[in-house]
């Protein structure tokens, strides 16, 4: 990561952040991350436009769609420096990281022209409509239905999505719905792009254990998706959805690790201040956290190297399980380091940050494939153990 070629880029980003994340944007430092995702939304949208103004949104996209065409290594550098500077949680993340790459891969020319510029310029924000109340980790169990309006060819959608991050602050949502009646599992699904501000869509915030509400339920009652806004073919939504999920496990990983490292450093700082650093049990746990983080770094580098021999495939499968449990454990460690200060809400913003880490990291091992699903996948795909039976209730 410290090659000559990336050093210049690194310096450029560092300078840019130093001169832009200042003034009225100063308050955004370290804000808007997981657990705090609904913080200061208007200012963060403005910030997106400042990023866009210097072409720091979508730096990994190809030039033709407004990106910089950065290599993987260069994108990692961007993520690292952005996080290091305390850059706020990206309101444009879903658009930039998921919708954009999906459209570039599967979208029509019209779809690309219609949607990519809005994402790149920080003017249109997206959210995702995957999970459903009865489906949980089981995407094959999607029940939201899409029925084609014979008159217009548009799709009319009814059903409910849940755990939709920032739906109340977004303009568009992508929706996985069942378009073939009677179909089950992965068949008969459709991938739709839908405007949120329309009759037939209602967004209801879900209050979280930390008190915030960055997640929502989204209710669809005959809401309309234009025929032009189907991605891929009707019935083949699963393929698109899976591809999109694979984009999620990309470069943002290393930026995420930079955030983790900052959190761990904060834990160490407080331990040194309050004497927790003298407790042998906490010393060992802090050392273990460092160990896990360093392993995560090399694991990610192996995963991202994408060795064509498939050598690292088995290890890739465990990455989500590793980082999410590591992060969750860090939250607990942070509380134990805070000790008597953990429970009482104080003025120290560092304490509040760690409390939010503690609470919100509980979701890490549930979303995007829970621990249980991850372990099934590792056992079945990684170790070749027998598949879990579906369907029989006993």
């Amino acid at each position: 990561m410290s090659d000559q070629t990336t050093d210049e880029l690194r310096a450029e980003i560092r300078d840019w952040m130093a001169s832009n994340l200042t003034g009225r944007f100063e308050v955004l430092r370290h804000r808007g991350n997981a657990g705090d995702g609904d913080a200061l939304p208007d200012l963060r949208k403005e910030w997106e436009r400042v990023l866009a103004g210097s072409r720091w949104t979508c730096p990994g996209w190809p030039h033709e769609w407004g990106g910089r065409g950065l290599s993987v290594a260069e994108q990692i550098v961007f993520q690292e420096e952005y996080s290091r500077a305390g850059g706020p949680g990206r309101m444009g993340h879903i658009g930039e990281g998921l919708v954009g790459p999906t459209l570039i891969a599967f979208g029509t020319q019209e779809q690309k022209e219609r949607f990519l510029p809005g994402i790149c310029s920080g003017t249109e924000f997206w959210c995702q409509g995957y999970s459903e109340p009865s489906a949980g980790s089981d995407l094959g169990n999607i029940r939201t239905r899409a029925r084609q309006d014979p008159a217009t060819g548009d799709w009319l959608v009814s059903g409910q999505k849940v755990w939709t991050s920032l739906a109340h602050l977004s303009d568009w949502i992508f929706v996985l719905a069942r378009c073939e009646e009677g179909s089950v599992g992965r068949n008969g699904l459709i991938f739709l792009l839908m405007q949120l501000d329309q009759p037939g869509i209602e967004v209801q915030p879900i209050r979280q254990i930390g008190g915030g509400a960055e997640f929502n339920s989204v209710f669809f009652d005959g809401a309309r998706a234009s025929a032009a806004n189907v991605v891929g073919k009707p019935g083949e939504g699963w393929k698109v959805a899976m591809a999109l999920l694979s984009f999620e496990r990309g470069i943002s990983t290393l930026g995420q690790q930079m955030g983790f490292a900052q959190e761990l450093e904060l834990v160490c700082e407080i331990a040194r201040e309050n004497g927790a650093a003298k407790r042998p049990d906490l010393r060992q746990r802090i050392a273990r956290a460092w160990t896990g983080l360093r392993a995560m770094r090399y694991l990610a580098m192996r995963v991202l190297s994408d060795d064509p021999s498939g050598e690292t495939m088995r290890e890739t499968l465990g990455y989500k399980y590793h980082w999410s449990n590591w992060h969750r454990d860090l939250g607990k460690l942070a509380m134990d380091v805070l000790g008597r200060d953990a429970n009482v809400i104080s003025d120290d913003p560092r304490h509040e940050r760690l409390r939010q880490l503690f609470l919100f990291s509980r979701s890490d091992t549930i979303y995007g494939g829970s621990n249980e699903i991850q372990l099934n996948i590792i056992a079945e795909q990684g170790l070749g153990m027998p598949r879990e039976p579906r369907g029989s209730l006993f």
Binding site: S131, S134, G136, S137, D138, N141, V162, W163, I206, R207, Q208, I209, G211, R279, P280, D281, K332, M335, D336, G339, R340, A342, N343, V344, I345, R355, F358, L359, F360, R362, S363, T365, I366, Y367, S370, N371, E372, L375, E388, R390, G391, S392, L393, F394
Partner: protein, 376 residues
């Protein structure tokens, strides 16, 4: 030693469990949390004022029922199970035993009588230490007919709910105990992550107290207060296993009905085994709590201290793991405000370091087994 509950003891437990299931519902606990007072005053009026729960462990001579530690533990378990926001731990497990242990006759008669009658009480000592009298934040000196006392206790449980606030203070190189008359000093309510136990800060800056405020007859030391500390620690452990039981019930109910991949979550073997391991840990912690309670008066202070530290260590870890698993096994809804796991989870974290964290309790045991040559 008989570890089977008597019929009377079972009745006490069943009554308490039934009442709290009715009165300290999920909805009610949420109201208490939202009100940010950390105490359910109405429920307290019922159980302490009308039902006399605080009288149970107080000797008959002082207006109590003279029951033992086992009854105390059963009540605390029931309270923990419903996360009932009651100053019972402060009152019955800390303040009353401390008065009984070090109080002079007059003070005992008056204060224990008031507690038996339903007044809440607490102690302004270091609730985060295994030896809460080791670092007292108050200094007293004789002055005229009375005393002048000053200092601060950063976190006092149920401080504003308590009608009787006991303050241990350094006096002439030893310890003395004072009961603050109503309205003495500054009491500030502190906002907490866990909204189900009131925490307050007490500052005496300095204040003059009449001679009658002194509780002990002529000074005491930490060893004199041993039974009170043991009672506080055991009561907390009981509350923790109760809460663990409560959150396990919530979880088992949920996963028995929630269907994923065409099966109930409870039918997956990996889930079953995790629940079973929790159950083993639960049995272990509960047996220690009940055993330590049954032998409370007969066991030597040294061995009792080890047992109770052991109970406290297991109970604290158990509650944390049980509520952590509750969130995980609830899946997405597990960290919404709407479902109950987070209430237990926050309590688990907040309680985990009360009267010392696990490492400190294990440290006490290690000191006893291996000698205390090493610092903890």
């Amino acid at each position: 030693m008989d570890l089977v509950l008597s019929d009377d003891q079972k009745m006490i437990r069943e009554e308490a469990t039934r009442l709290l299931a009715e009165r300290s519902t999920s909805e009610r606990v949420r109201e208490v949390v939202e009100a940010a007072q950390g105490v359910d005053a109405e429920l307290w009026a019922t159980i302490a004022g009308e039902l006399g729960w605080c009288a149970m462990a107080i000797p008959e001579a002082f207006g109590g029922l003279g029951l033992g530690m086992t009854e105390q533990v059963l009540l605390m378990e029931a309270v923990g199970r419903r996360l009932a926001a009651l100053p019972l731990w402060s009152t019955s497990c800390m303040a009353a035993p401390l008065i009984a242990a070090v109080g002079g006759d007059t003070a005992k008669a008056e204060l224990l009588g008031r507690i038996a009658g339903g007044e809440a009480a607490t102690v302004a000592w270091d609730i985060f230490a295994v030896d809460p009298l080791a670092h007292i934040g108050f200094d007293a000196r004789a002055s005229g007919d009375g005393y002048v006392i000053e200092g601060r206790a950063a976190q006092v449980s149920d401080l504003l709910a308590a009608a009787i606030v006991l303050v241990p203070a350094q006096l002439d190189g030893g310890l003395a105990l004072f009961a603050l008359p109503a309205g003495t000093g500054n009491s500030a309510l502190l906002p907490t992550l866990d909204g189900t136990r009131q925490i307050g800060e007490l500052t005496l800056d300095p204040v003059a107290l009449p001679a009658s405020a002194r509780v002990d007859a002529a000074g005491f030391d930490a060893a004199d207060a041993d039974a009170a500390i043991a009672s506080a620690m055991l009561g907390l452990a009981a509350e923790q296993i109760g809460a663990a039981c409560g959150v396990m019930d919530v979880t088992l109910d949920y996963i028995a009905s929630r269907v994923q991949f065409g099966r109930t979550i409870a039918s997956f073997q990996a889930i079953k085994h995790r629940c079973a391991r929790l159950e083993v840990d639960f049995s272990e912690a509960r047996s220690l709590v009940y055993g330590a309670a049954a032998g409370f008066d007969a066991t030597s202070p040294a061995e009792r201290g080890m047992e109770i530290a052991a109970a406290r260590a297991l109970a604290g870890d158990l509650l944390y793991r049980a509520s952590e698993e509750a969130i995980q096994l609830h899946g997405g809804v597990g960290f919404t405000w709407e479902y109950d796991p987070h209430l237990y989870f926050k309590r688990a974290q907040a309680a985990s370091c009360l009267l010392g964290a696990t490492h400190a309790h294990l440290g006490l045991i290690a000191d006893a087994l291996l000698g205390a040559e090493e610092a903890r």
